[in-house]
Symmetry: D2
Subunit: 409 residues, 4 copies
């Protein structure tokens, strides 16, 4: 039953790939599961649409896209069917499809108050606990849920699948770089995922890329560089996210102190305190947008101020430390905010480069694992092969260093 196919292949029209193709019954059912359909109501780029107004696409499309990338890897990467059994291929497809089901609304801000659980951990729970997704997986094969969860959690049981699902060059990134570029209208850094995939070859149980695919990978790295510089790290977008994060934090702080919050936030509180999965999965963008609107009338002056700022887009100011010449000004701001706990907690952020880089890119220093297969059969690292990658890595380290502050100098 696990390998049952639909009578007729099902397709989803997609502007990036033409079609997303589904032929396993299992995949079809997973897409219809309510936890997966919920992704239609969670925007991929959270508040970034306040800066890039067309970035209104949901995680639903991205999840289908990551699945489609995985499907194409299975179809086109040389030798992959020799190392992955059909069962493992299905594990791969499921992992790609479901990898973001644990995302909350406005995810990065959300994680800041969830502390001890990341969205990956929530995804693992969606797969293992009492959900429609879990029961579907379970019905098809008793091992499937735990195997898919293993991949998401990087347990090392399926190393090739883990590498293809989450590394420096994986089906997740290949989709989101293309998709976010398409929907924001970012001009630079389109990538050619088909060519990357066609250049893949599994050699000695390792994913390698033929030298002919190297330019496509270089372009992918450039695309990534551009997307981070121009879109993901856009100062206004980060400023907006920071405001959201402060709202979440204030709600949490008030609740921790036992202060009643005059808005419809019970599921949110429940989710961040008990980490109850049902509550968590009840949350979506509409839910958060809803309580923020209510809290513009909150009796807590800080919450009231933060929510009004968000709706009226009175964002924090930002200074790029690299470009700002006036060192005294910077010191003045730092000491002003350091001296007041409220300002410091809700109205200030100094993002040191390495922090930001870490949060978004995870493991830039493992980029060397991209292996180029030479015509001779020898393998060398992309860094050795490609003269420009060294520069990209070296320089990507010190990208941004900024101060955000919400209450003047």
């Amino acid at each position: 039953m696990l390998y049952d196919r639909l009578d007729r292949e099902k397709v989803f029209r997609d502007p990036l790939y033409g079609y997303v193709k589904v032929y396993y019954k299992l995949i079809d059912e997973l897409i219809d599961a309510k936890e997966f359909q919920r992704l239609r109501r969670v925007r991929q780029l959270a508040g970034l649409s306040m800066t890039f107004h067309t970035a209104e696409h949901s995680r639903f499309g991205h999840s289908l896209g990551a699945y489609e990338m995985a499907r194409r890897v299975i179809e086109n990467a040389e030798g992959i069917k020799d190392v992955l059994s059909e069962y493992e291929q299905i594990v791969f497809l499921c992992a790609a499809l479901l990898h973001d089901t644990g995302h909350g609304p406005y995810s990065h801000a959300f994680e800041a108050v969830m502390k001890y659980e990341s969205h990956e951990e929530m995804t693992v729970r969606v797969i293992l606990e009492d959900t429609e997704i879990h029961s579907i997986l379970d019905r098809y094969d008793k091992n499937l849920a735990s195997d898919v969860a293993n991949v998401i959690a990087h347990k090392g049981k399926f190393t090739i699948i883990e590498q293809l699902t989450s590394s420096q060059l994986d089906v997740d990134r290949m989709d989101y770089l293309q998709r976010d570029s398409y929907f924001t209208g970012a001009l630079y850094g389109t990538i050619d995922s088909d060519r990357i995939i066609r250049s893949m070859k599994i050699v000695n149980d390792e994913v390698t890329y033929r030298a002919s695919g190297a330019p496509a990978i270089e372009s992918y790295l450039m695309a990534r560089y551009h997307m981070y510089n121009q879109i993901y790290y856009h100062p206004v977008a980060r400023s907006y996210e920071l405001l959201l994060q402060s709202i979440f934090l204030r709600i949490k702080d008030l609740n921790d102190k036992g202060i009643h919050i005059d808005g419809y936030v019970s599921d949110f509180i429940d989710a961040i305190t008990t980490h109850n999965l049902k509550s968590y999965l009840f949350l979506d963008d509409a839910y958060v947008n809803g309580f923020i609107k209510q809290l513009t009338r909150s009796s807590d002056p800080i919450l009231n101020d933060l929510c009004n700022r968000l709706l009226n887009r009175k964002l924090y100011q930002v200074i790029d430390l690299k470009l700002e010449a006036d060192q005294k000004k910077i010191e003045r701001i730092r000491s002003k905010y350091a001296s007041d706990p409220i300002l410091l907690r809700y109205y200030f952020e100094e993002s040191k480069l390495s922090q930001i880089a870490y949060r978004h890119t995870d493991d830039l220093d493992k980029v060397d694992t991209i292996k180029i297969l030479l015509p001779s059969g020898k393998t060398i690292s992309l860094e050795k092969y490609s003269p420009i990658v060294g520069g990209l890595i070296e320089d990507a380290k010190n990208t941004f260093s900024r101060i955000y502050f919400g209450k003047g100098e």
Copy 2:
């Protein structure tokens, strides 16, 4: 003050046009008005994203796009600054920007229960009644609100602006054909609005197009043909819309009979009964999605069934009368549904071609008003000039003839 400009031009990044450019202070303020910002929460293609999953773009982007098209017409159409004063140019820009502010969520379904007011009429009210938009317009110039409303309502005071805002070839259509194609991923029928605009020339107070622009206009008409065939009239999309319409209708019917509805629908009821503008503008996609979710537990069996169908996507069946050979089957269905008032009201639709064509395209028979300016200075109609347009018009008449039915044959 009306002509005041921003100190620095403001731009919105747009995947279709590169940038949407704003330099009048007035326009900047209108975009920030809450009735305009509400368009961020109303999807351009309503439920079509259930069929084309990436069609999640909002009317906000389309409205900016129509404004940008208008701005480019003013910049590039030869002779336009001779016939439109700066005041009239501003009327044009405002009309283009605001033309969709009267749209409700899931607009086509909505209009079916609003009966005596169309979204154009609601737009006129947004401009003339007590709104932020109105007070902004009024503050800049006492005549502005009524002049912009005049254009929207086709009162004939500004004929050139009306033609450019709403005709067979206007800034509204030029934007939405491009935008909807981009976000659905429709393959055919991209249009070259820049070339169309650059070929415009105002001659004797009439909008004409130089012959060199004719191929671009032919492509625009082809694009329209393809978008209607493949996207807007997609049977599943229409089936989804029909279900929404039946839900709205059932709520209305229950309310008319004084039956209490067990969901959060008061603003909706208020909007469709009293046509109160505040209530109407409170509605957005999230509001509607919210009450539909609640009503899946409604005690009214019909409402309960309809809402559950929508969430579980158990759509109505559809038969294309042109392609179906079995006439008896068709008759059998027709008489089954005709014999039961409930089935007929909530579970059945026979869309005669002309109706659908009318509803979406309005005035196909006025296509002859597109005037081609020959090198000789003479003007002829596009139909005469372009050998293929005749075919397009003739054949566009009888596109679709379908039966939708929700309770089996």
Copy 3:
């Protein structure tokens, strides 16, 4: 041996298709044959580069492109491998690759003086007579040359291959519409050959297209319409071609009268008088350009004038009979040129629409042979299926009616 494959697939980078792929040894040898390499020196669009300066691409690229289209048909059209044996597939690939080897330089002008042999007939001779191409075909299989020639000559032995090679929708047209559009920079009418090919299905030994491919075919027909209107029938391009034709004609006339021509034209004379294949294949663009340069100093005043006009681009005037209002002027020109045999023969052309349409499109009235396969399994003609095709056909009939004249009114 016929089915021998290269040790490693060979690819030609192509801007339109990514790659042209060759795996049969036979095809590789044919590409290297000198008669095929000669196509590098014959421009696809002859003198059109005088009007569209980037249209400098050769018939070599087009021939590889037609081959690649054929290859993709074999790979992707459903059911084709059931009706074509591997031998027949090779016949198809050869026919697509070689179909233009009989083209002379500036082919249309050339055919005007070759009278009783078209370029298709010359292609048949290249395949059957003593050439490198012939000996390669012969070496691989004794029947191959005559079978390929049969396809080119439409002898009816391989009807499916003939249809795919030369009909209203064939690998030749699919390539040249895309290629000529790409290299001229024509804006409209890009076509999606991959989608057309993927929609092909062989049913009952006939080529049909699934309904899902119909929009791609409609776009293909639009592309064709635009390319003829804007590029191939460009009045200046035709005027240039006409001048070339007059030069060829004058050389022929002088030679017929036994008058010595003071330029290096012996191979040309030999080719058009004896139709000797070696002489014919010696001709290429450089050869013709060479003698025209020499003949700008010819002692024959007509030849001298014609060649100088060509180099100095003093082209004939042109009047579009549809757009010209002054009927008397038209009559005046007609009678002036009719009254002088020299003017009439070398300096005048009245192209009646049907003639031109015939020469370039061949068989517009067979367009009905494009068959659409409905989901039900029934087949209907594209004309019946697609509402706009009727218009295209009807109107394409009376496209252009022009007078060209070289010596004033």
Copy 4:
């Protein structure tokens, strides 16, 4: 008269820019000059079309393209009209248009036997000596020819124009990178020249680029990197060029020794020995192709062999020294060829990286002159501003190190 404009703007359709626009009468006349028309017969990428079969575009298109880039710089770069008078603008347009008129056929191979004159020097002669181009320039303004020649020769009289015409980022490179990519079908490294140009601002008589244009410039540098790696330095292309160079060299050597050459090479000999301009300008691709064909029957065994190799594409073998592990093999080849003067002169090349880099890119170490204008008004070098440029520069230094050899190991 110098500033006279055409009654109606003239346009050349171009796939890259839409249109190339001409409005000065002077420019129109220069395009019609026979030395400029000759560029239609000299391919932009010489023998590269043997490797990339669609790279058949001529220097004519590139020259128009460079002119169009210059025209757009004048239209769009902020402040340029304040620093360049209309006279200087015309000097700029002429320099951009004419900068390649001195190119011989198969230019790089040609320069190898022209030794003491580069194609830039020949361009200066075309502008200053007795040519149609010179007499047109002279007729419009007595200083024009020498001023345009000054720019080409980098005499320092018009520094801004020189920088815009020939530097690390100039109208010449902006056109050819785009054009060569388009016509070869290279996949990576498309550039956005419009955005680069729109970001230009002339500050204190220097060309700077606003920070918003930096990503476009980074992409331009990536494009350049890719074009050199994948196209211009393609080993087969270089191998082909090397063969041509050996043919030219052999002809020169034979002539130096007074040995008669049995082919039509007198103009060629004249050009490379006397550097006579008329002879030089008589040469074009057809001329060279012609004598090579003849010399396949040469009685000189070396010339005979080289020409036959070229026509039959029996190119030299190539070893990439970086990738080749077998050092002994390399030494064996080096010593074999070093020991035989004939082999060494005609059948061997060891290209050290720096040499090649120099020949094609000229002045990579001046890349720091690209100046980024910060919002603050301060200017910093692109290297400082853009983290990845350092990597590009550093690594571009040691690109290729190859041995080509024609007579086995």
